[in-house]
Symmetry: C2
Subunit: 311 residues, 2 copies
């Protein structure tokens, strides 16, 4: 089965890892949000790409889901002495990723090329693509004004109430090489359990990707379980936009793009209403606490796709 997975941060990275445990490298392509990317201390930082790659490489911190296992913080401590901004947690090992990415980009490599090279170095055989090699910036429109995603997420700890979102540069952006080909050739596109507003929507805001998605078979895994996000501000964002957060709300958010939807057992009572939208559904345990959970959920999703769409 040929699969394309759209992913943002921690939840998306976990399912991407589960899929990579079930599918061969030529069966799976990950397309990762780059709307959160930003420049800090002159360094290009790609939080979602890094989370996905560290997770696939087995380098991720199992406690936090982001950053690296066994990370040290000696640079950050020395920055604090200098009175430097330390709101973004720059780990010593993580810094190497930002430094080398910045160096290669400045020498003219694309973000795709750098990512491919890093994956090789880290032993990741499956294909990880940024959504685009061009600049797209997620802006969170809040009660205290427009904030870049990292400011909103890290500096302000997603406290300001959200009024809307925009993805600067998206309408002019072209997909990274391989993205459209992978979508055209796949059996299914899976929207991983990532934040719909700020992880998946930025990818869909690139016109050529949206066009390709309209011709593809797409399913989504709800990042909302029991009315809450497992991590991050997804549920809070739904509420502030005026929509009670639920699995159904996620299904409605993606609307007619979807053919299938995976929701958690705790939300089983929403299944009929989601089916009434014309979607095939899978109700299962979607919370991935262990690596075995990732693999099991991925396999259930692939079996669901096979049974419902490919048989």
């Amino acid at each position: 089965m040929k699969v394309v997975a759209f992913a943002g941060g921690v939840g998306g990275a976990k399912l991407a890892d589960g899929l990579a445990r079930c599918l061969s490298p030529h069966e799976l392509t990950m397309v990762v949000n780059s709307g959160d990317d930003f420049v800090h201390f002159g360094l290009k930082i790609c939080p979602d790409l890094d989370t996905v790659c560290y997770t696939l490489a087995g380098l991720a911190n199992p406690e936090t889901g982001w950053g690296r296992a066994g990370e040290t913080w000696n640079t950050l401590s020395a920055l604090r002495v200098l009175g430097a901004p330390t709101w973004f947690q720059l780990g010593d090992q993580d810094l190497a990723t930002h430094l080398e990415r910045t160096r290669r980009l400045s020498e003219g490599e694309t973000l795709s090329e750098v990512t491919h090279s890093f994956c090789e170095r880290w032993g990741i055989a499956h294909r990880v693509l940024p959504m685009t090699n061009e600049a797209v910036q997620t802006i969170v429109e809040t009660e205290i004004g427009d904030l870049s995603f990292q400011e909103y997420f890290v500096k302000y700890r997603f406290e300001p109430a959200v009024r809307g979102f925009r993805f600067e540069g998206a309408t002019r952006a072209t997909p990274a090489p391989g993205v459209l080909e992978a979508i055209a050739a796949c059996d299914v596109v899976i929207f991983c359990p990532s934040n719909p507003w700020v992880s998946i929507d930025p990818i869909l805001a690139i016109p050529a990707i949206r066009q390709a998605i309209l011709r593809a078979r797409v399913i989504a895994v709800s990042p909302i379980v029991g009315g809450k996000a497992l991590k991050g501000p997804a549920a809070k964002m739904f509420a502030e936009i005026g929509i009670p957060p639920s699995a159904q709300a996620v299904a409605l958010h993606y609307g007619s793009l979807l053919k299938g939807f995976i929701l958690d057992r705790v939300d089983a009572e929403e299944e009929m209403e989601i089916r009434s939208l014309g979607l095939r559904t899978l109700v299962t345990d979607t919370v991935m606490k262990t690596i075995a959970d990732r693999q099991r959920l991925a396999q259930e999703i692939l079996t669901f796709v096979q049974a419902e769409f490919l048989s």
Copy 2:
């Protein structure tokens, strides 16, 4: 006594520290070579400024003379995994200096302002000035072609034979604020035991500094002891330029700029010839192995200046 010290790397930093132990903050200004500065991974690195500041702050690695005490190398290890260039030793704590300097420069602060702020944070009360806030680049002309100083020094371990030097940008550069005022107001300018070719000459290559120096009382401490440099390529450079390395060769190099010269006891037999150039001389132990050595040498130099020139 008002003193201005010109300094480059490790030897210069040690004497600067000795002088700071003998003089109050309003009596001493350090002017530091910035011709070695370079950009690596997008970060502005100022090796001589950092060596001088780390030494004055008591943060320097006592084993190497450069870098920081208790340094860790976790970023560098992670860079190695990525196949990144690791010829320049980027320590985790040292990185914070480069990161915050780069950030502040990109926000419009000058190198002087950044250096002043870092000194405050590190508890350095004496004034440390870069020679200029503008770009001056030391190019070492070698048998294998022109090399930037860091390439020559670190990447090629100063192996290629030297044919000459040039200081790109120097003739257009203006001194950092305070440099000319400090020289005009001082009783003596001391050329620390730094490399004449690549530490002191770049400072003198700035026309306004050279003009000011011509009107000042200048003394130099020989970085050549027993025909050898204590550290680095100074002796090798003299030889490759065609001049047998010696204390006398250093005195001749600076020529008529000097009024006095400090040489090591092991070179005492050169004293008469140096005096015949019209210079007052001090023969003493110039090798600074301990912090007490730095303070003792500095005090002997100040006593020599007082006795020979100010009494």
